[in-house]
Amino acid sequence: MTILEFEKPLYEIQEKIQELKKISESSGMDVSKQIENFEKQALEYKKEVYANLTPSQRLQIARHSDRPNFLDYVKLITTDFIELHGDREGTDDRAIIGGIAKIDNQSVVIIGTQKGKTTKENLVYNFGMPQPQGYRKALRLFYHANKFNMPIVTLIDTPGAYPGMKAEETAQGTAIAVNLREMAKLNVPIIAVITGEGCSGGALGLAVADRVYMLEHAYYTVISPEGCASILWRDASKADVAAKALKITSEDLLNLQVIDGIIKEPLGGAHCDYELAASELKKTIINSINELKEIKSDKLRDERYNKFRRMGVFCQ
């Protein structure tokens, strides 16, 4: 398991506890009081650390290699998942995976960006960076949902749409733009959740939704803090300053009224307890579907339009 820099003191305490336990076992001394005390301290410390995370520390959690990925969540929150492959134009982009499944007895089309946990996996999923063909596959699945009146759930965890030569030649910008436009036209409820990284147009291409949520430690931004730092500060090492300035945390986005809610993560982040993280996510999705299902499609579309129409801050 990867240990983040700011978590090190915590692991040191836990190592001490383990040592104490060993000592007590071998010597027969009763140190249970002390151990209990240490464990209490460790928990308090953990709570404190996680209540005061800086934006760049949260970035590390959002990018944690053990963080549950799309297929983990699919396994934990859906049943009967059947993957539907391909854009029907020659490609099956692996960075975006989609299919049909049931969530709490409701058939849904579920689509997400997929990241790997190992380098080998990441090469398959291209580190969660979709090609235009991935967005076109998603669009095809959106239309499927629309045709068969199924709600759409998208789970987003991407460092951005892939910046490559072939991606440009096959119109990365157009692929994203078309999704933004077409999502506005769909008659079915759309729920988008930023589960990890929500970077730029690559994330938005799946997120023009009736309800947009973020996991507590996810981030959502117009540009990666590193990219922003190298452009505006001309110094990529200023990424932590940029992360703060860009206001990328779930609380920031809730304050800016860009998202509808924050989904709580287990203490220490979603990677510490997959089941707990997934159950919170599932609860939010089910509640949203039940609420949105009651709204007539015309009204649903109007409200979706108005939701994005209102976004932006200016003087008048």
Binding site: T221, L246, L256, V313
Partner: protein, 287 residues
């Protein structure tokens, strides 16, 4: 420095120079200008009379929004709208300089209050609603004001049942408004959905340069997409791509010709022909 490094550095310098090239160099003085493309010394008057196109090599220099409007619209018909909408600083963003200061500087430099001019006017006798971007204002970046004015222009087209024209010139989303800039991509694209549903013609003219969040939203959603000659258009920047894929890109990468080759645009128009092309298209779609 290895030989390879030297070549890399040289290439970077060439790209950086080319980024500047698109603007007329007026360092020579008021009377003379220099074309970076062919290095000719040119009389400023000759260049201006030639629609800011080099009379020698036909290189299309970047032009600002006002000049563009004067070139495209029938004289005296353009009526600017929504100029009362101005920039706020919702995130109180400070990088090496405060965003507020950058806005003041951009206003002074361009005599505009934001990176887009919206309004209605006639092109060859056809009344249209339009949004014309200006690269000189913070790289034509799209923040809340640009998104709002483009959307309002589209809503004006909807209200009056007239075609919509967008002329783009932008480095992409405005970082200083972070997520709010990203949301302008959604906002403008949703407005295009409304134009589609109303059956109104939407034409986009992509000019040098059109990138990032503007490419990935309303710029590439035109029913008809025209690229101006010499424009460079793309999603990711050339340098970002080169760093990612670790290979050098073809010289004509992301040029209008390149996009044409890959089927992303309907046509390339020279500046001289742009107005007549638009007029023809508008006439052909008249009901």
């Amino acid at each position: 420095m290895t030989v390879k490094d030297w070549f890399e550095q040289r290439k970077e310098m060439q790209i950086a120079r080319r980024a500047k090239e698109t603007q007329i160099d007026d360092s020579i003085g008021k009377l003379w200008v220099k074309c970076y493309n062919c290095n000719s010394q040119l009389l400023r008057k000759d260049v201006e009379e030639n629609l800011d196109v080099c009379p020698k090599c036909h290189y299309h220099f970047r032009i600002n929004a006002r000049t563009r409007i004067n070139q495209l619209f029938d004289e005296g018909t353009f009526n600017e709208l929504f100029s009362n909408i101005t920039t706020a600083d919702p995130l109180e963003f400070v990088d090496t300089e405060p965003y507020k200061k950058r806005i003041v500087q951009a206003k002074a430099k361009t005599n505009l209050n934001e990176a887009v001019i919206a309004g209605t006017g006639e092109i060859g006798g056809n009344l249209v609603s339009a949004a014309v971007m200006d690269f000189e204002f913070m790289g034509g970046s799209m923040g809340s004001v640009v998104g709002e004015k483009v959307t309002l222009a589209m809503e004006e087209a909807l209200k009056r049942k007239i075609p919509m024209i967008a002329v783009t010139a932008s480095g992409g989303a405005r970082m200083q408004e972070s997520i709010l800039s990203l949301m302008q991509m959604a906002k403008t694209s949703c407005a295009v959905a409304k134009l589609n549903e109303a059956g109104l013609l939407y034409i986009t003219v992509l000019t040098e340069p059109t990138f990032g969040g503007v490419t990935a939203s309303f710029a590439t959603l035109g029913d008809i997409i025209i690229a101006e000659q010499d424009a460079r258009i793309g999603f990711a920047g050339r340098r970002v791509i080169e760093q990612t894929i670790r290979q050098s890109l073809p010289a004509d990468f992301q040029t209008a010709n390149y996009l044409m080759k890959y089927g992303q645009i309907d046509m390339i128009s020279s500046r001289a022909e742009l107005k007549s092309t638009l007029t023809k298209l508008l006439n052909l779609h008249k009901r």
